[in-house]
Symmetry: C2
Subunit: 218 residues, 2 copies
């Protein structure tokens, strides 16, 4: 019973997500759906990315949160434009929420839209929003056993950013085990080890997003 | 539309959860619903707790996971009996899943049932399973800004375990800010700072769960 209901909700969402997708394509906007657990480092990654892209691309940001506009306030200083979506309890963004958010932007003034999803390693992976790529961020303290335990997010993501590698000396985290498990779940995924605190590894991520943006614009 | 559907699911769940609750009361079993993000330390806390209670109480464990039985395997060595529930994609346990799990136990042989929910700081908080207390665990690397951003779980929990305090020297985590925010969201919540790695602070938690168990048995 519950499963049927969920399926219907997902189907309705696919339709709206495709409409968003079409609109983004028409406007030549490259869209990233950024997902990860609470505290994985989504907002800090976004700040770093916006600083890097500042003079190269015009970046719009949608901040998805259950409550508060704290992340949007952190981000607003760096982005061309920022829209906050408060889900009011819902544990993920869906196509319809993002459609509402898009209305607040001048889409002719944006090259990239980064959507920071609600902090959750599970539900956001089920709901398309019209993105080109899903990008997941997970942090070293979350443990090296996550790919098999939370497989869907690993399956649907184009890139896996493993954040907080500056904490590796203080934790038992088996990098090879983690990489192996992640690639078994999704062999096509690109894995980048980063630290948003020290900046280590971020160059690969910056190159990746710039390259994808150019490709989607051409 | 979607909200109505969710409401109906929640109402149906309340009914089943109350039935579980009644059964647990009849059998004199104290039940904890243990919740937190992936990697917050739920399974390690459980191992520590089981070791402590070993010669004092008979503890049954339900392990909720989306996939794999890794946690149940870790736990089985220490618990009187362990049941694995794989949600097959669902991001939380509900009353019905737990009802299925209960059938696998001899309820006359258990004093405490600890249910480790799916790793998720959002959805599990919405679904009662028949517990006496909800206990949440969150770890220092997740950041000090979580109470206001993910309020529901803080609101419904009797105890907040702040784990991985051994990592405080390496992170920017403002303990007073965090405590203040958490208590604003839920003034009745007990907050315990712990490290499942070093054992620091766990005594308070052990005392709490023993005290609650005795009270529910009397």
């Amino acid at each position: 019973m519950e499963i049927k209901v969920v399926k219907k909700v997902l189907e309705a969402n696919e339709v709206i997500a495709s409409q968003n997708r079409r609109l983004f394509r028409e406007k030549g906007i490259y869209v990233v759906n950024l997902m990860g657990s609470p505290g994985a480092g989504k907002t800090t990654l976004l700040e770093r990315t916006l600083l890097h892209l500042k003079d190269k691309k015009r970046v719009g940001v949608i901040e998805g949160d259950i409550a508060t506009s704290r992340d949007a306030e952190r981000i607003a200083a760096h982005a061309a434009s920022t829209v906050q979506i408060n889900t009011g309890g819902a544990c993920h963004l869906d196509g319809n929420m993002v459609r509402g958010g898009i209305g607040e932007f001048d889409l002719d003034q944006i090259d990239i839209l980064i959507v920071e999803n609600v902090g959750n390693l599970v539900c956001p992976a089920e709901f398309k929003i019209g993105e080109n790529d899903k990008v997941m961020i997970i942090s070293v303290p979350e443990g090296d056993d996550k790919p098999q335990k939370y497989p869907l997010m690993f399956q649907v993501s184009s890139v896996l950013l493993l954040n907080k590698i500056d904490l590796l000396p203080y934790l038992d985290f088996d990098m090879e085990h983690f990489r192996g498990d992640a690639l078994r779940v999704n062999p096509r995924m690109e894995i980048m080890a980063i630290s948003c605190k020290t900046g280590e590894g971020l160059d690969s991520w910056f190159r990746w997003i710039e390259e994808r943006t150019s490709r989607s614009a051409s």
